[in-house]
């Protein structure tokens, strides 16, 4: 950057104090170089201040409304996708819980569901039993506990995802 005498002065006249203005006046009388630089800067400053505000094409607000509507539409479509996806995930998990034996004999679906519910009940029961006799069954107890915690965690995640993505309120319709 070129070094100039003007660099040592606040180039914005609004920044000059009364004393500085006086000092500048004195300096200007002494230095033609400073005078030249100042007038060059003032020409630039005037060009900046006179340059017009650039406007967009007419209908900016209408285009914004259209964009908002499109975004809302996309958002609700995404919400439907999330809802369907999460429901399918839940159904698949339930199917896994019921067991592959259902697939072998679809007629026994009812009994398989009951069996699965009983299996979960048994798991909880054994957890409680192991709580009572901690000393004897540490490894099995820890296993049952970990399994229950994992199941609980997956369920919580599922519910949270449902709440957040499938039914969650959207701030002003956009996200």
């Amino acid at each position: 950057m070129k070094s100039r005498q003007l660099d040592h002065w606040p180039m914005d006249k609004r920044d000059l104090t009364a004393a500085e203005k006086e000092r500048l006046e004195r300096e200007l009388k002494k230095s033609p170089e400073l005078r030249k630089e100042l007038s060059a800067w003032q020409a630039i400053e005037a060009s900046l201040q006179e340059a017009p505000m650039v406007s967009p094409e007419r209908g900016f607000a209408r285009r914004w409304q259209t964009r908002l509507a499109a975004r809302r539409e996309r958002r609700s479509q995404r919400q439907v996708n999330w809802l369907l996806g999460l429901l399918m995930m839940g159904a698949l998990s339930a199917l896994l819980l019921i067991g592959l034996d259902t697939l072998a004999s679809p007629a026994q679906l009812g009994s398989a569901v009951i069996e699965s519910v009983l299996r979960v009940g048994k798991l909880i029961g054994s957890g409680a039993r192991y709580l009572a006799i901690l000393g004897d069954g540490w490894p099995a107890f820890v296993g049952a506990l970990a399994l229950s915690a994992a199941l609980a965690w997956v369920s919580v995640l599922w519910v949270a995802a449902m709440y957040r993505y499938a039914f969650g309120q959207i701030q002003n319709g956009v996200r």
């Binding site: 070129k2 060009s47 900046l48 340059a51």
Partner: protein, 194 residues
Amino acid sequence: MVRDDETALITAAAEGDGDAFGEIVERYHKPVYNLCYRLLGNHGDAEDASQEAFMKAYKGLKKYDPKRPFISWMLAIAYNQCMDQLRRRRISWVGLEALFNRSDQQSPSAETTVVASGEAERVQEALSALSTKDRAAVVLRYWYDYSYDEIAETLSLTNSAVKSRLHRARRELMDVWTAEQLALGEGQNEISPA
């Protein structure tokens, strides 16, 4: 009066009234668009950035502090949007030629208010020589008549950082302007008959 009306519109918009915010967009789109245009240098990007800035403002309306002028808050969002856009697209300032090519491609409409005069072109070209933050400080100072404090708030800078950025920007502008004038002078000498 206008302020009360504005507060009512903001309150309604914060409750999800898109039309109320549409009214706000109508009111403030010009200064927001101008800032985006001055920072991004072409109409297509400026339109996108300003539209997106209003979208972000609408979404984040609950975070708006009514003690602050709405336009300052809006310009800060627009500035950040432009910075994001520049970062993403890695726009390089390659001078007036590229600028005009892009403007021609992206906004051919006769309705667009195009910066037409030679002086305005020179202003935009000189601005493009500055860094984005320096450019934003100059735009806010000279087009919006912002004080140092207001610029600092909008650009998330300290007051002294704004002063030094503006000082540097002015020096750079002078360099560019002088170089241009010299080039113009040489050009005229070459054209004029001996």
